[in-house]
């Protein structure tokens, strides 16, 4: 068991907005900033500069100036998109929105791209009668952004509060922070704060989620006297999330307080001169390399006890093979780890809706692994050379791939809802893994595709070699604290990295701490690989927020119908 000490840092970014100093209105308070959460300040600055025409802030490395409004980013793990919170979105206005949206649509969603939210008719823009043309995009960290074509207010346009009682909410803000009551084009109730609109609309469907920790974390107001405003808020029984004071890492001596406003919108109240905080990535433990004194618990019948619900979430994004661009680094930096997971996540989630993203994505719930690659043997982290037969099989598999599949068997066993993979490489969602033990068996249930393997650990012999199957025949034995599982009799129809029916796979499960389970897999397939090779990643136990739900894949496999009918229709178009 080679485990190393290491430490690891949680990536975190947040974004805040500062209104132009020229904005003025007859109130004791000024609208000051909106604070968004991302995972990479540098990347976020680049994104808002490149796509929404903001400018980097002078003397700051964590924010941008958007048409007089400052947007500041703080590195922090995000708890999900802004959608369906009390601050559903923010808005920018362009004189030629069709051109702007066309420009953004051409960026694409990969990496730190631009995600478009389409209307029911598939279009990205729609005319709002009596108002203007509008559409929605998301930044890569989950802030929903409305783009409008309002020639009266170009640049940063409004903040959209989603409220259970919009009129009362606007009154609440006006009483404390000023602004003029106004109706945007005589239609939408709001407050005019300098050049910026604070709009409040009826929240549809239940109660808005709290903003703290979400993509738009809070909005801020600057006041002349924080003490007097704080006193008033206290008398009004408003809950303080942060007491007035100079925050840790504050760039100036200006004080800040954070309160829980209407609809659980977090509000920062700051003194004049407040210039944000210098944030540091928090130090957290790297799950993959932590070594602790740990005694593996035992079941009542004396074997190591692995039972519980585990997830591979924290290991999502670790590539199988060592990439070329990391040199000889033993582990990634926290920033690299955060960026890597985000790239993996962003490339996968573009088609999904808000509730799903906000509640399901593993990446919001645990720190990303700093492990460089899964393969630990051979030591170069690369799959060993293939045999000539292995090369031939790979070429055959490549040739069999068709842009327009003729039938289900041209698609992967995953798409067919038969089995996902021999190795449960953590993905962007449904990485749950439940272990249940009896005296002579270990049951392992994999959430995605709801497969359960029951592994005898009592010396029961393997079944006959003619009984081949997709997941093979597994037998387990205890090696000290480790469960060693040998799997044979694969039918070879769900190859892992080109493996064949000659594969023997060995898995080793070891609890390395109360909440960590190290998983090693060895691929030994002499028909395909010139030597066996081994990969490793770590599961984290998370029963407080994780329960396996039924992943009924085949029962709802509309994807298969759509892929095949789409292919037939494309063939018909092409006259084939």
């Amino acid at each position: 068991m080679n485990r190393r000490h290491s430490a690891f840092t949680l990536a975190a970014v947040a974004l805040s907005w500062l209104v132009s100093p020229t904005a003025s209105f007859a109130a004791e308070a000024d609208y000051h900033h909106v604070h968004l959460t991302t995972s990479n300040a540098t990347e976020a600055m680049k994104w808002y500069t490149e796509y929404l025409d903001c400018q980097p802030l002078t003397d700051r490395d964590d924010g941008v100036d958007c048409f007089g409004a400052e947007v500041v980013f703080e590195s922090k793990a995000t708890l999900g998109s802004s959608q369906r919170t009390g601050i559903d979105h923010i808005s920018f206005s362009y004189a030629d929105l069709t051109a702007k949206m066309g420009e953004l649509a051409s960026v694409g969603v990969r990496g730190s791209g631009v995600r478009l939210q389409r209307f029911e008719d598939g279009e990205t823009l729609r005319e709002m009668p009596g108002l203007f043309k509008h559409g929605f995009i998301f930044d890569p960290w989950g802030t929903r952004i409305e783009l409008v074509e309002d020639p009266d207010t170009l640049g940063f346009h409004h903040i959209h509060l989603s409220s259970t009682d919009p009129a009362a909410t606007l009154n609440w803000y006006q009483e404390r922070f000023g602004g003029e009551s106004a109706r945007l084009r005589g239609q939408a109730d709001g407050l005019r704060m300098g050049d910026i609109w604070l709009l409040a609309m009826q929240h549809e469907g239940g109660v808005p989620a709290a903003t703290a920790g979400r993509a738009i974390d809070h909005i801020g107001f600057a006041v002349a006297s924080l003490d007097s405003v704080a006193g008033e808020l206290e008398r009004a029984n408003v809950q303080f999330l942060e007491q007035p004071g100079v925050p840790d890492g504050g760039r100036t001596s200006a004080k800040r307080a954070i309160v829980d406003g209407p609809d659980h919108v977090s509000l920062a109240v700051v003194e004049a001169g407040f210039a944000g905080v210098v944030s540091k990535m928090a130090e957290v433990t790297d799950i993959t390399t932590e070594l602790r004194d740990y005694t593996v618990p035992r079941t009542p019948w004396g074997t190591p006890d692995f039972q519980g619900v585990w997830t591979g979430d924290a290991s999502h994004g670790i590539p199988l093979q060592r990439p070329d661009d990391v040199g000889d680094a033993a582990v990634l930096t926290p920033e690299q780890a955060a960026a890597r997971r985000e790239r993996g996540t962003l490339g996968s989630i573009w088609g999904y809706e808000a509730e799903w993203r906000d509640t399901t994505l593993g990446y919001v719930k645990s720190a990303p692994s700093r492990q460089v690659a899964m393969i630990i043997d051979p030591p170069d982290g690369r799959i060993p050379p293939r045999t000539p037969e292995g090369e031939r099989l790979m070429a055959e598999a490549r040739a069999a791939r068709q842009p327009l599949p003729e039938g289900p068997e041209n698609l992967s066993s995953w798409v067919r809802c038969i089995t996902r993979s021999l190795v449960q490489t953590p993905g962007v969602y449904n990485n749950g893994f439940q272990v249940m033990q009896g005296p002579n068996h270990v049951a392992m249930q994999v959430e995605m595709l709801h497969e359960t393997r029951v592994i005898p650990t009592d010396g029961t012999p393997f079944v006959g070699s003619d009984i081949a199957s997709w997941r093979g025949d597994a037998r387990g034995q205890w090696d000290g604290d480790t469960l060693v599982v040998e799997i044979r009799n694969f039918n070879g129809k769900a190859p892992y990295q080109g493996s064949s029916d000659a594969l023997t796979m060995t898995e080793r499960y070891t609890r390395t701490g109360p909440d960590t389970l190290e998983y090693r897999f060895t691929i030994d397939d002499p028909k395909v690989f010139t030597r066996p090779w081994t990969g490793m990643f770590t599961y984290v136990r998370d029963e407080s927020q994780y329960e396996l739900v039924e992943y009924a894949c085949h029962e709802g496999n509309y994807g298969m119908t759509n892929i095949l009918s789409g292919s037939r229709s494309k063939e018909a178009e092409a006259g084939r």
Partner: protein, 269 residues
């Protein structure tokens, strides 16, 4: 070996006699005990009989023409206590419609998860893994499985409706009592089209009748479908075959032509 099987059959016959008597009495032979003193259900189990064809009394009948005698329906004595399923008139009409379309509409035909209680008496074995925290039932058909939460005395609502529902269990003496709910209403109970809605609640009782037989009872309650609760009862037998395992039966690929054959480049349907 032959002798052992004969003994087993004799024992099974004895159990059958017992269940015909009112109530359930303990049969001869002690059930094995788990480390904690409860009955030990660890093992591979299977129902024998024709409940998977029809829960109620049914005569022999033809199956799909081209499968001849293999596909024919064997006659069977029902497992419904009293033999009557108390359907509402609308639900009975639905059952009859299901029956008419059974060769295409039955979720079993499509390799969909069977739901509860059907998973128990499909003609496939299932394994019970019983430990100190939860009990898992891993069925041979369609990769279906259930986690019986024995460790949650405060019962939790199903997070979402599903094919296999959510199950909480507790011991009533030597009987394992499982309450299952949170179903999606898509499941059938047999190949005859018996059915229920998402409001279905199933209370199952697993009572040891000796080392190799469990008496299985399930009481089904669903106000949308039935005018009153009703009960099925049948024995489950331990599979004593040497080295018996619940083998992987991924039936999805065997349904692909049925479900998608019309969408192939060269249609097969």
């Amino acid at each position: 070996m032959m002798k052992r099987q004969k003994q087993l059959l004799a024992m099974a016959a004895a159990v059958m006699v017992v269940i015909l008597a009112p109530g359930i009495a303990a049969a001869q032979g002690e059930a094995p005990r788990a480390f904690d003193g409860h009955p030990d259900f660890n093992g591979v189990w299977q129902a024998i009989g024709t409940a998977h064809w029809d829960l109620q009394d049914h005569p022999a009948a033809a199956g799909p023409v081209d499968t001849g005698a293999i596909g024919a329906v064997p006659p069977g004595q029902g497992v419904v206590v009293g033999n009557t399923i108390p359907y509402t008139p609308e639900a009975l009409a639905q059952k009859q419609q299901n029956f008419e379309n059974r060769w295409t509409d039955d979720p079993e035909v499509k390799c969909f998860m069977p739901g509860v209680p059907r998973a128990t008496y499909l003609p496939h074995p299932f394994r019970i893994v019983q430990g100190d925290k939860k009990i898992m039932m891993v069925y041979g058909f369609a990769e279906a499985n259930r986690t019986i939460h024995m460790d949650k005395p405060e019962r939790e609502r199903a997070p979402i409706d599903s094919w296999m529902g959510r199950s909480h269990g507790a011991w009533d003496g030597d009987t394992l009592v499982v309450d299952a709910e949170g179903f999606n209403g898509e499941s059938w109970f047999d190949r005859a089209g018996n059915h229920a809605s998402y409001a279905l609640q199933v209370q199952e009782r697993y009572t040891p009748m000796g080392p190799n037989v469990i008496m299985y009872e399930a009481t089904l309650t669903d106000e949308n479908t039935f005018t009153e609760p009703w009960t099925i009862r049948m024995p489950l037998y331990r599979r004593l075959d040497e080295n018996v395992q619940v083998l992987e039966f991924k039936c999805v690929e065997f349904t692909e032509d049925l479900l998608y054959g019309h969408l192939r480049k060269v249609p097969t349907r």
